[in-house]
Amino acid sequence: MTDKRHEYDIAVIGAGVTGCAAARELSRYELSVIVLDRESDVCEGTSKANSAIIHAGFDAEPGTLKARLNVRGNSMMTELSRDLDIPFIRCGAMVACTDEADLPKLDELLERGRKNGVPGLRILSSEEAHTKEPALADDVCGALYAETSGIVCPFGMTLAFAENALANGVEFSLSNEVKSVTRMQDGRFVISAEKGDITAKCVINCAGIYADKIHDMVCEPSFTINARRGEYMLLDRSAGGIVSSTIFQLPTKMGKGILVTPTVHGNLLLGPTAEDIGDREDTATTRGGLDTVRRISALSVKNIPYNQVITSFSGLRATGSTGDFIIREDEKVKGFIDAAGIESPGLTSAPAIAEYIRDIVAGIMPLREKADFIPTRKGITLLAMLPDEERAELIKQNPAYGRIICRCSSVSEGEIADSIGRPLGATTLDGVKRRTGAGMGRCQGGFCSPKVMAMLAEKLGISIAEVKKNG
């Protein structure tokens, strides 16, 4: 361990939204920071397969970290989305009640939200709710409306944190699975990973569904993580306009319900189911799960065109055994910080979790602000989002923007080249898809994937046959 290049102040394990947000926050200070992940890209676990909601914060139990960090995270999003160029729309959300007997529960939620400090909550009558969202099922007899709720691109958000962290000096070591963490006599940690050993004064465990495994490598077991699978269906943009806000269902004795929401890409998303499974790798969808999504979503929104489904997927929530987020420095192993059990509202809370972690780090080592911190980041320019005039102007500057590769989402060669060529760029088909939307449309990459594969192969200096979908 004499090689200075492998010594860091901070090692973040996990390049999901929590790890990337934490790294970006810590990159404000004079610290050497490295982020390690077993996957070849950031945002490859829970962060990539979830509801993509920026929750208002009325759901969590008052007094919990979940409640506090949710509300704080939500309040940060307007500025963050501008600074880091994150696709984010504050579209509002409704909790729809379909049984008159349950109406008092809406008041309870409202009250809980107020305790949590959620602004802009109000109860809507059946008529008000239907006026706002004409596609609500006829049975909807009232709703809680949350105007601060929003939708976000979860990949865009994670990438924004990661790219900005990188610009501010954070190192990313991907395809580098952590095998062991040990603590040396001097208090520093040795992290043995696939690509070799590094040392760090402080370890931040953001390992998602494996956070308990990482914790137990060096600490006494104090919590467990359960993989709770959620299945989703994504509908074509032709169905995206059915609702303009996120429609939750009031939890009933039958379960928590299935949400129906527009996405920032203009699609319609339905889900998730909730099923505790033993296998931390099992991201399969099931016939039963998809049937449930279909059946339950129809309770709150009518005439969902299920024939417009373009893909289905499932994600694993990292459900912690304490019921709340577990964000703390280990009692015995000083310098080891867990950010575990980050299930919903984890995406919303990420920027607030990052601040919370920063405060813990401040208790471990002095934090000196960098004079040259870059607070902003510009994402890939997505031309389909622009008015014709701007688009025409950009094509004049870069003709590659004029050649459409993905016809369904109108993604050009220029955008795909940018996604591959930029720092922390895409190395797989899924990587390009998450960054640009190419292959995310109605044909699901049927037409564009051979072209994108050819571009990846050329840039990476490999053959087309070696280009991978993911990993």
């Binding site: 099931t286 373009i310 025409a392 094509i395 004029g402 050649r403 109108s410 044909c443 699901q444 053959s463």
Partner: protein
């Protein structure tokens, strides 16, 4: 000042090329074909097997050869082609927004538009097949592009779901390239492809076809490891206990084609729910005057020869529309075509009987397999056409010709139906 052209043909595949040629030959020389790929030909360019052109040229051509014949005719006439150009939108007043590397983004005014954008394959997500999402799952057409154009074999141990023609062709192609095709499974009790393809692509290579079977699970985290196939009942529901595991690294999907009508829909054109293509009359005119449709964007064809023929009519009718400035000689008299018993849809869906010129090709698909049946076209008690068939199958499009003179005096709807077992 916006750029103006008389006729814009959107798509440079077999439909677009034939339409442009016919329009040109009918006097519209101010025509441009907009093609998103780098060359004309569309999907034919990846169809390197033969069997194209039996009707049009009385010989067996490969896809690229067939496309080449039309591309040659386009070139000979000096018809303008903008390749590498994607039409982003069509407005109801026939202005199109086009984007390309060379010319950037432009809005072009037109007198008439022919839609010839083709179709796309139904992806896995739309099939709601549960399971993992590993590498190794392709639509048959994507695999065809990789094998035939990029020289990449997507895998070695292959299962194919769906017996559409591209799936059958790819079963043979993958076999010839050294892969082992274990099985073709088809959800329906009948094949989705042409009989000749079943014989030439599966039977000749000993590849089993299991009808009334589907994929019920997909396994493998990064790379496909296998699929579970099960038999389905009459409603398409998997029958418990019939599951069989097939180890494979590649799953090809050939489960139907969807006309690509996003532009049509954005223009506000009425879509026929049965074909997923524009509702058209006998001139292949859509609900927006001056916008015509032909080829697979209108309804999915089995044979490219039929596409070329149909597109020729669209081209001639567009030329007539431009020449007549949209006017029809006689007061229109619209008769609806009803898809009756055993008929899934008809193209066209209506006929202006007061202004018929050419013979009318009435195309439709049967709902099911019918043996020893009669196709009957009638209006009330008046039988216009009655045609005996040994067999009709959903995978083979029917083509009935209606003579304009037989339509005089018809008032009320025309019904197309299949009478089963009639002698």
């Amino acid at each position: 000042m916006a750029e103006h052209i008389s006729l814009a043909v959107i798509g440079g595949g077999p439909a677009g090329m034939a339409a442009a040629i016919a329009a040109y030959d009918s006097g519209v020389t101010d025509v441009t074909v907009f093609e998103r790929d780098d060359e004309l030909g569309g999907i034919l360019n990846q169809c390197i097997h033969n069997g194209f052109g039996l009707h049009s040229f009385k010989e067996e051509l490969t896809g690229p050869e067939y496309a080449g014949r039309y591309a040659g005719q386009v070139k000979k006439r000096g018809i303008r082609c903008e390749t590498g150009s994607m039409v982003l939108s069509v407005s109801p007043d026939k202005r199109i927004t086009v984007v390309s590397k060379e010319k950037g983004l432009r809005v072009i005014e037109t007198d008439a538009v022919i839609l010839a954008m083709g179709c796309r394959e139904r992806p896995r997500g739309a099939l709601n097949i549960p399971g993992m999402r590993p590498q190794g799952i392709y639509t048959a057409g994507t695999a065809q592009k990789l094998v035939n154009c990029e020289g990449v074999l997507p895998g070695k141990e292959v299962v194919i779901l769906g017996s559409g023609d591209i799936g059958l062709i790819m079963a043979r192609r993958m076999t010839l390239e050294g892969a082992h095709v274990k099985l073709v499974a088809e959800l329906m009790p009948y094949s989705g492809g042409l009989k000749r393809n079943i014989v030439q692509c599966l039977d000749d290579y000993g590849i089993p076809l299991k009808l009334s079977h589907t994929v019920v699970d997909i396994r493998g985290k990064r790379r496909l490891e296998g699929v579970v196939i099960a038999e389905v009942d009459g409603t398409g529901t998997p029958i418990p206990g019939t599951e069989e595991y097939y180890e494979c690294d590649t799953l090809l999907l050939s489960c139907g084609l969807i006309p690509e009508n996003e532009l049509s829909i954005s223009a506000g054109i009425t879509i026929n729910g049965a074909t997923n293509g524009p509702a058209v009359d006998e001139t292949l005119a859509t609900s927006i005057p001056g916008i015509f449709a032909c080829g697979n964007v209108l309804h999915v064809h089995d044979l490219v020869d039929f596409v070329s023929e149909e597109a020729g009519r669209a081209g001639r009718n567009a030329a007539k529309y431009i020449a007549d400035k949209g006017a029809r000689v006689n007061e229109p008299h619209i008769v609806k075509l009803i898809a009756g018993n055993g008929v899934r849809y008809t193209v066209p869906g209506m006929i202006d009987t007061a202004n018929t010129g050419e013979d009318i090709h009435l195309r439709f698909r049967a709902r099911n397999v019918y043996k020893g049946c009669t196709i009957k076209v009638s209006a009330g008690d008046n039988t216009i056409v009655s045609k005996k068939k040994r067999i009709t199958v959903p995978s083979e499009m029917e083509d009935i010709i209606l003579k304009p003179e037989t339509l005089g005096g018809i008032d009320g709807d025309i019904t197309v139906e299949i009478e089963e077992g009639s002698v």
